[in-house]
Amino acid sequence: MARQNQSAMSRALVRRETISAYLFLLPSLVFFVGFVIIPMMICIFNSFTDATMNAKTATSFVAFSNYQKLMGDATFLQALRNTFVIVLVSVPTVCAFSLWVSSAIYKLRGPVLSAFRCIFYLPVVTGSVAVTVVWKWMYNNYTGVFNYVLKDVLGVIDKNINWLGDERFALWCIILILFTTSVGQPIVLYVSALGNVDHSLVEAAQVDGATDFQVFWKIKWPQMMPTTLYILVITTINSFQCFALIQLLTSGGSGTNTVMYYIYYTAFKLTEQAGHFGYANAMGVVLAIFIAILSAVQFKLAKEK
């Protein structure tokens, strides 16, 4: 009898906990479900239809034909290739650069450390629009600082280069800007990870005569693995989503089209099939799948280490 009472009571308690937990979660869930989960569902659903911007035309189910069309769409394939170039170049360089900067600054005195951290974070805070506007000027054919420094100061080039209009350079110019706006967060993370490395282990290794390189590789690096993993994932996602730079600098011209820009272009700009939401959503799904696969691979590699 007593036991029965107790279990009834604990069940009531669990129910009370559940109700109060959901009351606490409710405001957040309204926004999360309403503006993240539902659009995700619509995105997946629409990718199987020929939905357009015009709500009045009937939408019909087209199964995988959007996806089939994607595989034969030369523009999409080129955008996909560019996106991968951006990711494959920027992710390792961002990681390596921020790791080097962090290990050079993390032992500096407090104010100096935060000054450096701030400076490397500033391009992120400045915002993509302000950043692109000024870089566009710096890349300018006639009045830009790049041509001036390379031609008149260093003498590396003998003729002004139209950086953003030239297929050989445009994508690299964009990767350079992306790089300066991506290293801020990894540096903050690495500085704090390096500060949290177990010092007794480092000292023990030094007493045993380990070189700095050995200490770094055998002791610090494994301890920072979770941080590295997180940085890899966020940098990959950010690079995949590179959009503002493309839209404001080249509008996808000079061989700089990316999947994210092409999605936008298909949904809002394409003249002959304006507002082709179904097709754009199919691209979104493909992009999401690629990101999911890459994140999973990164997780797996990190786990094995």
Binding site: V14, F24, G34, C118, V129, V131, T143, V145, L189
Partner: protein, 294 residues
């Protein structure tokens, strides 16, 4: 041994020199925006860059302000006095970022506490859903989001930018991390004393997760200020623009008037940079906490 020490010192000096050079390169675009905003047209269009203006002028700002105008506010059909559009855009942006910040902090603090400290049915599923949603690219869902906002009658309304920012689960995740630090004994003691759930939350939980709320607030404020893609898709008419969107539109109209664009870029970037510099301590903390167990 001695040469080893010397080599170490040499490496240290070289790395500091490289760092300082890099720091200057990273600061240069910002410097270029600020001085570009005050240069004369002649110095802006010089083929040999003018590294420091010989004369500081406000022409660029006056061209920026006279180019477009908008009512200062429009509420319930009443329109404020006509002002330069850039001022209206700044007001819109501040309103957007503050609202996104306040709503995110309230909802995320509540949800984070529940996820960290309550054992309830569906907790594991909900948490993995949140983590998965965080790993997916936010911009992929923007097009369906636009359709949804259109359906809700919120298209071209600043709330269409605010709501999805609040829905983004990073805040909940961050607040869960912070809430886990609350000792269970304190919550237990409050319950035994007969404190209601609401009272426990406001008098015990909130004060204990304050650093987390501070970090989330500044993080949301800056991200919302700079979320250009969302603003581009959701907002359509000139008087509803944010400052980033307004400057981007002007850039599309006239890529020749660099001086005016720099004035605009300065107007868009400087307020948020100042906010960042004031609150950077919390900001750093927020970034680091979000990554733990990330």
């Amino acid at each position: 041994m001695k040469s080893d020490m010397a080599r170490k010192r040499a490496y240290k000096i070289v790395s500091v020199v490289i760092l300082v050079v890099l720091a200057f390169l990273f600061l240069f675009p910002l410097y270029w925006i600020v001085i570009g905003a005050f240069k004369t047209g002649k110095e802006i269009n010089a083929t040999t860059p003018v590294w420091f203006p010989s004369e500081w002028v406000l022409d660029n700002f006056s061209r920026l302000f006279s180019r477009r105008t908008a009512p200062l506010f429009s509420l319930f059909g009443i329109e404020g006095p006509t002002v330069p559009a850039a001022i209206r855009w700044l007001l819109n942006t501040v309103f957007m970022a503050v609202m996104a910040m306040v709503l995110t902090c309230i909802t995320a603090a509540m949800a984070g506490y529940a996820l960290a400290k309550k054992r309830f049915h569906g907790r594991a599923i909900l948490f993995s859903l949140i983590v998965c949603a965080m790993a997916l690219p936010k911009q992929v869902i923007l097009i369906p989001l636009l359709k949804e906002m259109d359906f809700l009658g919120l298209y071209d309304n600043i709330w269409a930018v605010i709501f999805p920012t609040v829905g983004w689960p990073f805040g909940v995740f961050l607040m869960k991390q912070f809430s886990e630090g609350i000792p269970d004994e304190i919550l237990e003691a409050a319950r035994i004393d007969g404190a209601s759930e609401a009272k426990t939350f406001t008098t015990i939980v909130v004060p204990m997760v304050k650093p987390g709320i501070g970090a989330l607030a500044i993080f949301t404020f800056i991200n919302s200020w700079n979320d250009y893609f969302m603003q581009l898709i959701m907002l359509a008419s000139g008087s509803n623009f944010t400052i980033s969107l307004g400057i981007a539109t002007m850039q599309a109209e006239t890529s020749i008037d660099m001086g005016m664009l720099m004035a605009g870029a300065a107007l868009a970037a400087l307020p948020i940079i100042i906010v960042f510099l004031i609150f950077q301590k919390y900001f750093t903390q927020g970034i680091t906490m979000g990554a733990v167990k990330g």
